[in-house]
């Protein structure tokens, strides 16, 4: 992916750029909103990673508002030290697609970048999702593996659906909490892990090939090959 990173802190900028490049992306890094707006408006990017507060008169929110006003719909991920709920809402309202609070783990950033960048343009009206021998019927809301029906609870179904829509990508625990449970809060303990491991038990029981993989220090990923 071609990513534009607008970040005024040189160290954070360097760290993020290096990490994204190592993950195989092309990254342009500019240190202020003015240049960021210029770049974003004049070149094509798959994703913008913006600091919320930027020097130079144009902050992240202004930048996105301007871009959206020009009909530019490149996905935007905000990075911010402002963690208040209203700040998040402000960022998303302005046209941001995701919001990550500093300090963050790089794995979290990468997972979110890839989730945003590979988002299907319009949610494909698929009625079936399939990974290896695992099938998800979105209409009847049933799960089958190797032709055998697996009984899951509604929440587990949604959890699995989210993982399968992002097959091959890392999905972090926070992303699951936000997308599957739709809450923004600190669960204190590893509640998500418990739910994922339950789901995993149901799916992998009687099969020697696990499908849900734990990605160390990051989250989970569903994929066919081990």
């Amino acid at each position: 992916m071609r990513i534009l990173l607008v970040e005024d802190d040189a160290e954070v900028g360097r760290f993020v750029k290096k990490g994204l490049q190592e993950a195989g992306h092309t990254v342009e890094h500019v240190p202020n909103g003015r240049e960021g707006l210029f770049m974003a408006a004049s070149e094509n990017f798959d994703l913008l990673v913006l600091d919320r507060m930027l020097p130079g008169g144009i902050d992240g929110v202004r930048l996105v508002e301007t871009l959206r006003g020009q009909g530019n719909h490149t996905p935007v991920l905000f990075l911010s030290a402002l963690a208040g709920v209203d700040e998040r809402v402000k960022g998303l309202k302005a046209g941001g697609d995701d919001y990550l609070v500093k300090p963050f783990a790089f794995a979290e950033l990468l997972a979110r970048v890839e989730a945003l960048g590979r988002r299907p343009a319009v949610d494909a009206p698929a009625t079936r999702l399939k990974i290896a021998d695992l099938e998800l019927d979105l209409l009847s809301r049933t799960v089958t593996r190797g032709g055998k029906r697996v009984d899951v609870q509604p929440r587990e179904f949604r959890l699995l659906e989210h993982l399968m829509r992002h097959a091959g990508q890392v999905v972090t625990r926070t992303m699951l909490l936000e997308k599957v449970w739709d809450y923004h809060f600190d669960p204190q303990t590893n509640v998500i892990d418990v739910h994922v491991s339950r789901l995993r038990q149901k799916l992998d029981k009687g099969f020697d090939k696990p499908l849900i993989h734990t990605v160390r220090n990051a989250g989970y990923m569903i994929r066919a090959e081990p």
Binding site: A83, G84, A105, W181, F185, D186, Q188, V191
Partner: protein, 497 residues
């Protein structure tokens, strides 16, 4: 609790609205006074009490003036009008007579009238066109007589005695003139008397006005003095004094009450700021120190890559933990400051309870615990969905942590008349009465809880959330079955509207 091996950028964590270590600006000093007006006169003029009093006095005087004006018009004015009317009627009667019978008849009538004037107040003159006196008791037309002027008010000398006259001069068709008048000296004297009376009463009224104004000002100042004194003490840096309340249910009482409420709020916020700094000193220092030690150790073991990696990972985990505590502290501060009340919306507590039970039920199950739940179909509230779930999550997390394996946890909610009551009950070691009072203080951890991981911030946040929603938090015995584990039930009550 083992901190998760990666940082969690917590959604909905508090924004550092105020830098946690920011020292509040000194309350005293600073450009509080506008301009420099040291004069006592300025102080008097700029005093609201004085201005109110002045307004009072002016209104009082205006009322007095209006009263005087009406009185004057009704008495002295009426007298004047009466005199004028009599003079005019007399003159018209004489002119009529002249038309009928000429000068002699008028002269006769004048003499007749004079002969009957026992009070010696009438003035008459019939003057020929040449100005010669034909009849009457006036020597001649008045000084400064002008043909076009009919009415004269002028000084009079009657038999050597000074007086005041009102005179009406009527030209007759043949060029002679008829003057009819009255000596109004008596009336003037009456008027003067009236004037003097009014003046005296105006003087007294003015005195009353000023005395009233002064009293009003004194009363205002006296009622405001406690407020001023309190404000001065606060400005001096002591936040403890409050405006003494008089018990009278008036505006000043309301002012004092709202000022006290404001001061309580300020004190509370200051406490919050202090709490944040305490938190940083107390709870962040330890994990930061631990991370630092670990990294230092890693540096020493730099030639063993496996040990190095382990140390670095633990160091990152420690830093993540620091972040979590930091965000929890900021969130508590944010909630306590009431900043999130803007995000309040109608919310049904039941789905939240269901989600919380589902999220933590799995964890409880894993520990062999059973989670029993009960609530009605709907519990409509106004509040912050994420915060309410956070509160439930913290309570359930505690309950799961403190209940032994195989025990049970209760989560129930009920709709009372005007409030929702939520109860989270466990079979843990419980809390002694002394500890119950202290729990909810930031970082307080009961001795019995020392062995269990946790920051001691969970209940603080719960309490802050409950208070933000206008509710109350209390503790009851849980449903533990052993004497050493009576269990703890944390209950809170949220008002419906």
């Amino acid at each position: 609790m083992t901190p998760p091996p990666h940082p969690r950028p917590q959604p909905a964590t508090p924004r550092p609205a105020t830098p946690p270590l920011a020292v509040p600006p000194p309350l005293s000093s600073g450009p509080r006074r506008r301009g420099q007006h040291p004069g006592p006169l300025w102080r008097l003029l700029s005093s609201t009490g004085f201005r109110f009093a002045l307004l009072f006095a002016v209104l009082f005087l205006l009322a007095g003036l209006a009263f005087t004006g009406v009185l004057w018009w009704g008495t002295a004015g009426a007298l004047d009008r009466q005199v004028d009317a009599a003079i005019r009627a007399d003159a018209m009667a004489l002119a009529e007579r002249w038309r009928d019978a000429g000068d002699p008849a008028v002269a006769d009538a004048i003499n007749e009238r004079l002969a009957l004037d026992a009070e010696n107040q009438t003035l008459y003159l019939l003057a020929a066109p040449s100005g010669q006196r034909l009849a009457g008791n006036l020597e001649g037309l008045p000084q400064g007589f002008a043909p076009e002027v009919q009415w004269y008010g002028m000084s009079l000398e009657r038999d050597g005695i000074p007086g005041e006259a009102r005179l009406f001069v009527l030209p007759l068709p043949d060029g002679s003139r008829l003057a009819v008048g009255r000596d109004v000296e008596e009336k003037l004297r009456l008027r003067e008397l009236l004037t003097e009376g009014l003046a005296w009463s105006a003087g007294v009224a003015l005195l009353f006005a000023f005395a009233g104004a002064a009293l009003l000002r004194r009363a205002l100042e006296r009622r405001l003095a406690p407020v001023t004194a309190t404000a001065a003490l606060i400005a001096g840096g002591d936040l403890t004094p409050r405006v003494p309340l008089s018990g009278r249910d008036d505006e000043f009482e309301a002012l004092g009450r709202s000022m006290n409420a404001m001061l309580d709020r300020i004190a509370h916020l200051m406490e919050g700021v202090r709490g944040v700094s305490d938190a940083i000193a107390h709870d962040l220092r330890t994990p930061i120190a631990r991370a630092r030690n670990r990294l230092e150790e890693a540096l020493a073991e730099a030639n063993d890559p496996v040990a190095l990696q382990g140390a670095l990972e633990r160091g990152i985990a420690d830093l993540d933990n620091v972040t979590r505590v930091f965000q929890a502290v900021l969130r508590i501060a944010e909630v306590e400051a009431g900043a999130r009340r803007a995000a309040f919306a109608p919310v049904d507590l039941v789905p939240l309870l269901e989600d919380a039970a589902e999220l933590y039920g799995a964890t409880a199950e894993e520990r062999g615990q059973t989670l029993t739940t009960s609530w009605p179909d709907s519990l409509p509230l106004t509040g912050d969905r994420d915060l309410l779930l956070q509160a439930l999550a913290n309570l359930l997390d505690n309950a799961v942590k403190f209940t032994p394996e195989g025990g049970s946890i209760g989560l129930s909610a009920a709709l009372a008349e005007d409030a929702v009551t939520v109860r989270v009950s466990d079979q843990g070691p419980g809390l002694s009465t002394e500890d119950r009072a202290r729990v909810g203080e930031r970082f307080f951890r009961a001795d019995t809880a020392r062995a269990t991981p946790g920051s001691g911030l969970g209940l603080s946040l719960v309490r802050a959330v409950v208070q933000l929603h206008g509710g109350t938090l209390w503790f009851e015995e849980g449903h533990g079955q052993e004497a050493t584990r009576p269990g703890l039930a944390v209950c809170f009550r949220l008002p419906l509207a």
